[in-house]
C-alpha cells in the first residue's frame, strides 16, 4: 500500500527533475535542429540551450530562473489503494520540491487586493508558490501516475483560449490556432517554442486538454497534424530568441476531447518556451 511519505518524496523528486533536466526527446529535437539550422546566430542560441541543459543536469540547477507554477496531473487507476489525506501529501511534496530545486521565490504576499497590486512584496520561501488546482483523470488499472509540470510566465502572457468557428474542418481549427501562435512567438522571446493545443467544449475543458497534451506529448512522436502546426509556425522565420532562422517551433502537442453539436470549438493554445514542457512523471502502486 502506498504511504503518504512515499507520495511526498516522489512528488518532490518529480518536481526537481522537471525543473532541472531535459528529457531524451528534447535533447534529440535540439540536436536535430542544430544540424538543420542554417542561421549562424540561431544555431548559437540552440547550442547554448543544450549547453545549459548539460550544466543544469550536472549541477542539479534550474534550467531557467523562472521556475514556473507547479501543475500536478494525476492518472488514477480504479484499483489503486491510496492512504488517508493523500492529496495533502502531494501538496507537501510540491513544497519540498520547490525548496530543494530551489524554485524562484515569487509568491505574492497579502490579501486578495494586495496580491493583485503586489503592494506587500514577496515571500522569501520558494515553497509558498502554491500549485495550480490538481487535475485528476480516471484510468483503468491499479496504478497512480503523478506528473508534475512547471509552467513558466512568458508563455502565459502569450497563451489564448477562445472559440473557433470550425466550418467542419480540422484545417480551419488548427490553422487558426497556428495563426495565434505565429502572431505571439514574435513577442515571446524564449523561442524555439513548443505549443500545446487543447480542443474541447468549454474554456475549462480546453485548458485542461492543453495541459494533458503537454503531459502526454513527445517531440519524438509527432502526428501529421502536429507536424503541420509546427511547419506553419516555422514559416514565420522568427527563429530562436527572435534572431531569425528555421527553428521557431520544435514541435506541437495537440489533444482533442469530447465535443458537442455546435458550429464552434473552444481552443486553448499555449505557445510553450524553449525549455517546455518541463515535466516529470512517476507511476506508483
Amino acid at each position: 500500500m502506498l504511504t503518504r511519505a512515499r507520495i511526498e518524496v516522489e512528488v518532490k523528486n518529480c518536481l526537481v527533475r522537471a525543473g532541472t533536466t531535459f528529457r531524451p526527446d528534447q535533447l534529440r529535437a535540439y540536436r536535430n535542429a542544430i544540424r538543420r539550422e542554417k542561421n549562424e546566430n540561431a544555431r548559437w542560441v540552440l547550442e547554448k540551450i543544450l549547453e545549459n541543459a548539460e550544466i543544469a543536469r550536472k549541477n542539479a540547477f534550474p534550467l531557467c530562473d523562472d521556475t514556473g507554477i507547479p501543475h500536478v496531473f494525476l492518472d488514477i487507476g480504479g484499483g489503486v489503494s491510496l492512504p488517508r489525506d493523500w492529496l495533502s501529501a502531494i501538496s507537501n511534496g510540491v513544497v519540498q520540491g520547490l525548496r530543494a530545486m530551489p524554485g524562484r521565490p515569487m509568491a505574492v504576499r497579502g490579501n486578495p487586493v494586495e496580491r493583485v497590486e503586489q503592494s506587500r512584496g514577496l515571500f522569501v520561501d520558494p515553497g509558498k508558490v502554491s500549485p495550480a488546482p490538481v487535475i485528476v483523470k480516471s484510468v483503468p488499472g491499479d496504478k497512480l501516475k503523478i506528473t508534475v509540470l512547471l509552467l513558466g510566465g512568458g508563455p502565459e502572457i502569450r497563451a489564448k483560449t477562445y472559440r473557433v468557428f470550425h466550418k467542419r474542418s480540422i484545417d480551419v481549427v488548427l490553422g487558426e490556432a497556428a495563426e495565434w501562435a505565429s502572431s505571439e512567438v514574435r513577442n515571446l522571446g524564449c523561442t524555439p517554442c513548443v505549443p500545446a493545443i487543447g480542443i474541447g467544449r468549454t474554456h475549462v475543458e480546453a485548458s485542461v486538454l492543453m495541459v494533458e497534451a503537454m503531459k502526454d506529448g513527445s517531440l519524438s512522436r509527432q502526428n501529421s497534424w502536429e507536424k503541420k502546426v509546427t511547419e506553419l509556425i516555422n514559416e514565420t522565420n522568427v527563429g530562436p530568441l527572435g534572431l531569425g532562422g528555421d527553428t521557431t517551433a520544435l514541435g506541437t502537442f495537440i489533444k482533442i476531447g469530447p465535443l458537442r453539436a455546435s458550429g464552434i470549438r473552444v481552443v486553448s493554445m499555449r505557445p510553450g518556451c524553449c525549455f517546455e514542457p518541463r515535466k516529470s512523471s512517476v507511476v506508483l502502486g
Binding site: K48, A56, P102, P126, G244
Partner: protein, 174 residues
C-alpha cells in the same frame, strides 16, 4: 567571438555590430522592472555616487537575481525600456535582455553610444559564469533589487547597434 572587459570604452562600442557574438567579463549590474526606474531617479537627482553605484562604461542585465539564478526578462516592458535612454546617457554601454525594442529606443542608443544585446534564458549556464554577487542598492526589492555581479565569459549577441536592429518591425503588444 569578441571578448569584452568592463568598464567598456566608447571606442570599443563603436566596433560592435549587430549579430556579433560577445562574452563579457568583469562587473555587471542586474535590475529589472522595479529597480531601473529608481536608478534613473538617482541619476536625475545626482545621488548615484552616494549609493556607491558607478555605471560609467557599465553593463546592465535585465534580470531578477534569486537562488534560482538569473535569466533575461522582456526588455520591452515600459519600466525597463523607459530606463534605457537615461542609463545610456549616464554611461551604460551595453544593455542585455530579450525581445525587440522600439525605434525611439534604437535612436537613443545610437545617440548615447550604447548597444542592446540579447541572450537566451540559460540560467544554469549563467550560474557557471558568476564569480561573485552582492546587493548594490534597493535591498527592499528582494529578488528585484539592484545586484552587482562579477562574471567571467557571459555570453550574448548584439541585437541593436548604431541605429540598426536585428529584429523586424515590432508587433503590437510587445
Amino acid at each position: 567571438m569578441i571578448c569584452i572587459q568592463t568598464p567598456i570604452g566608447e571606442h570599443e562600442v563603436e566596433k560592435l555590430q549587430i549579430g556579433d557574438q560577445i562574452e563579457i567579463s568583469g562587473v555587471i549590474y542586474c535590475g529589472r522592472d522595479a529597480v531601473l526606474p529608481k536608478l534613473v531617479r538617482l541619476i536625475e537627482s545626482g545621488d548615484l555616487n552616494r549609493v556607491g553605484v558607478n555605471v560609467e562604461g557599465g553593463v546592465i542585465f535585465h534580470t531578477a537575481v534569486s537562488p534560482a539564478g538569473i535569466g533575461p526578462t522582456s526588455s520591452n516592458k515600459v519600466e525597463i525600456e523607459g530606463s534605457i535612454p537615461a542609463l545610456s546617457k549616464a554611461g551604460v554601454r551595453i544593455h542585455i535582455g530579450k525581445g525587440a525594442l522600439g525605434s525611439e529606443t534604437v535612436e537613443e542608443l545610437r545617440k548615447y553610444h550604447s548597444v542592446f544585446a540579447v541572450t537566451p534564458p540559460v540560467s544554469a549556464l549563467f550560474s557557471d559564469k558568476i564569480v561573485s554577487r552582492r546587493v548594490a542598492a534597493f535591498r527592499e526589492e528582494g529578488m528585484e533589487a539592484l545586484y552587482q555581479l562579477e562574471v567571467r565569459g557571459f555570453p550574448a549577441i548584439i541585437a541593436i547597434a548604431h541605429g540598426k536592429t536585428i529584429f523586424g518591425p515590432r508587433q503590437r503588444g510587445g
